[in-house]
């Protein structure tokens, strides 16, 4: 195992937007909500506090959002819970009215928002499919004709006359997704469809996305599954507190997203709290294959090559860098640490404003499965003086086809022969 630390360059800027004709054009979108708890729900409050409606505090759910999506492009929107993704889709779908800004769109729109397309739970699947068809602009006859296609795709033919309130949640999502796909719209807005549904349905979604990619349809996909963004989207944006904090290719946005997730709340040791924020930030962390390309998977027996870049906001004397691997069950399988490599006479210091690249090659005795990488930096070569600790900063899969099980892949010689005599 070798860990070497050197100063690294800043990551490349994100690629620009290709100059194709646009499917969605959003400029300066703003949307505020009244803060919960201050909502006036009864006339009495309104009468007692006639002016309160003017001075309640506002929650800025969308704060100056501008982006463009080309026709035929698959566009990902990621962000933490409450960052404004669903709100954005609702404004695009004309469910919420924006306070300010401009939305333009080319073609017909089919929204699938917060796991549904707008069903009435008291009605049967048949009635709902018809209602939705009419809502999408079909005549009542056309909508009725579409029923079979929708039910076939959802594989819910037997349940056509069951009220939706008696559907299972997975069945509802199936039906909703199917209704949306069969609407044959030009722009699809999809919020969180991949979160529910069994394996066969997820496969179906994957197939649909694959087919749609060639068809010239535009898709806006909101999800928390970075692999999905990676797999389907041409481009993505990262929302945080109603603002676009990153725009670019899916891998990069995915990494920013993970960082956003784990930087908060994970770095609250007493030392930093008094000093105001962590002294060191994890800028990037990834896994490489033998050719130096970023990857998410490692073949059984191949080495695990971990890379991380950290930047110091304040001087950090005598830093120790650590990787810790755990498996999917949360068992810590391996941890390792190293100190700054330096020439004679150089101080053992990560100075404010400088970056360090941390690289580890780990000979891989691990069994196949999913693994998570924690990353941390300590000061003063101490075991306890934690500057940052980022749990699950990266994850990867070890795959292989050998007939063996267990936590680790031990070297073994193994044979079975017929015994003579």
């Amino acid at each position: 195992m070798a860990v070497d630390v050197s100063t690294a360059a800043a990551p490349a800027p994100s690629p620009g937007v290709a100059g194709r004709s646009l499917a969605i054009d959003v400029r300066g979108l703003e949307k505020s909500f009244r803060l919960p708890g201050q909502k006036i729900d009864s006339l009495k409050e309104r009468v007692l506090h006639p002016t309160i409606s003017r001075d309640f505090s506002q929650l800025r759910a969308l704060d100056g959002i501008s982006f463009e999506v080309n026709q035929g492009e698959f566009f990902g929107i990621v962000g933490r819970n409450g960052s404004g993704k669903s709100t954005l889709l609702k404004v695009l779908a004309s469910i919420y009215r924006a306070d300010a800004g401009l939305v333009r769109m080319a073609g017909r729109l089919a929204p699938f928002i917060e796991l549904g397309v707008g069903f009435n739970m008291e009605l049967t699947a048949r009635e709902n499919v018809q209602l939705n068809g009419v809502m999408m602009g079909l005549t009542r006859k056309e909508a009725a004709r579409r029923l079979d296609a929708v039910l076939d795709f959802a594989e819910l033919n037997e349940f056509v006359d069951l009220k939706l309130k008696n559907y299972s949640s997975g069945m509802l999502v199936r039906l909703g997704f199917s209704v949306m796909i069969q609407a044959d719209a030009d722009i699809l807005l999809i919020d969180e469809v991949l979160a529910v549904g069994d394996a066969s349905f997820q496969q179906k979604c994957a197939d649909v996305f694959h087919d749609l990619r060639g068809s010239g349809k535009t898709l806006v996909l909101v999800t928390h599954d970075m692999n999905a963004v990676d797999a389907y989207c041409h481009r993505a944006i990262l929302l945080d507190h109603g603002q676009i904090v990153h725009e670019g290719n899916p891998q990069e946005v995915g990494r920013h997203y993970l960082r956003l997730n784990f930087e908060r709340g994970e770095t609250s040791s007493a030392a930093q709290a008094s000093a105001g924020g962590p002294a060191v930030r994890l800028v990037d962390i990834w896994l490489e294959d033998a050719a130096g390309e970023r990857t998410n998977s490692v073949e059984l027996d191949d080495d695990i090559r971990l890379r991380a870049i950290v930047e110091a906001d304040r001087d950090t004397p005598a830093p120790t860098f650590a990787f810790l691997l755990s498996n999917a069950d949360g068992v810590h399988v391996f941890g390792t640490a190293t100190q700054l490599k330096r020439e004679a006479g150089e101080p053992d210091l990560l100075a404010a404003g400088s970056r360090a690249k941390v690289s580890a090659r780990i000979l891989n005795p691990l069994g196949s499965g999913r693994y998570f990488v924690d990353f941390g930096v300590n000061r003063e070569h101490s075991q306890t003086d934690n500057v940052i600790w980022v749990s699950k900063a990266a994850d990867f899969v070890i795959y292989g086809t050998q007939a063996q099980t267990g936590l680790i892949a031990l070297e073994n010689e193994f044979e079975a022969v017929i015994e003579d005599g």
Partner: protein
Amino acid sequence: MSVAVRERDLPLRDVQGPSAVGGGSRRFFDLLLLISITDFKKTYYGTVLGYFWSLVRPAVMFSVLLVVFTQIFRLSGVAHYPVLLLLGIVFFTAFQEVTSTAVTSVVANEGIVRKTQFPRLVIPLATVMTGIFNLLLNLIPVFIFILAFGIAPMWTWLLLPLILLALIGVTTAVALILSALYVRFRDVAIIWGVMGTVLLYGSPILYPFDKAPEKVQTALLFNPLTPIFTQSRQWIIDPSAPNAVAAVGGWARFSISVFVYAAICVTAVWIFRREAPRIAEDL
């Protein structure tokens, strides 16, 4: 980045956001029809006697009030009182049922309103449509009763649609106001429950306008339903009764009801248009 090539480029169009009617008139009317039909089915789904119930309610109310006002209070000097009472009650139940269903209608369709670009106006209007359908069906037995009571058909019966239009107009307006306000102020449902009783006794249904004391008459002038009941008495039941204008004592007093009626309609349009774009987020 590999972007698939499509055959034709679609033009960009401004997205207007949610509204009361947006999305084309054919879509609007198709949705209205569809929701009305399903509403109607829903109301009687799971009941054994189905539509029969919409007859039973006014019939029971009529019987009780008839006994009270002819046997206990002995209202006298009103020609054909039972049929007058029946007609009034059928009109009033229609108004009452539509408006009280409309109060919660937008909230009841939450699933649709929160997830789709749905013309908001369709929802309360569908309640009105269902109400009109019920009313027309209920009027059949009412007219059978009128004939059985010995009132000969008269040409003024042909003016019934005018009365129905006036009734539907104010019903729709009130339905719009209530459904839009209820989204933000849940008290509306309770207030309207009480108002139902107030309006029943505060309209010339159980008694004709001229039998009410002076003070009550003044109050009745502010009720937009008053002209509907007084005029239907003359046109449908008793041609010798005064018309809506004469009954209340001249145009000046009559115009109060008309003014209130108009004010309600204007308010309805104003409130609903203002609230419609925000309904989804306030739910």
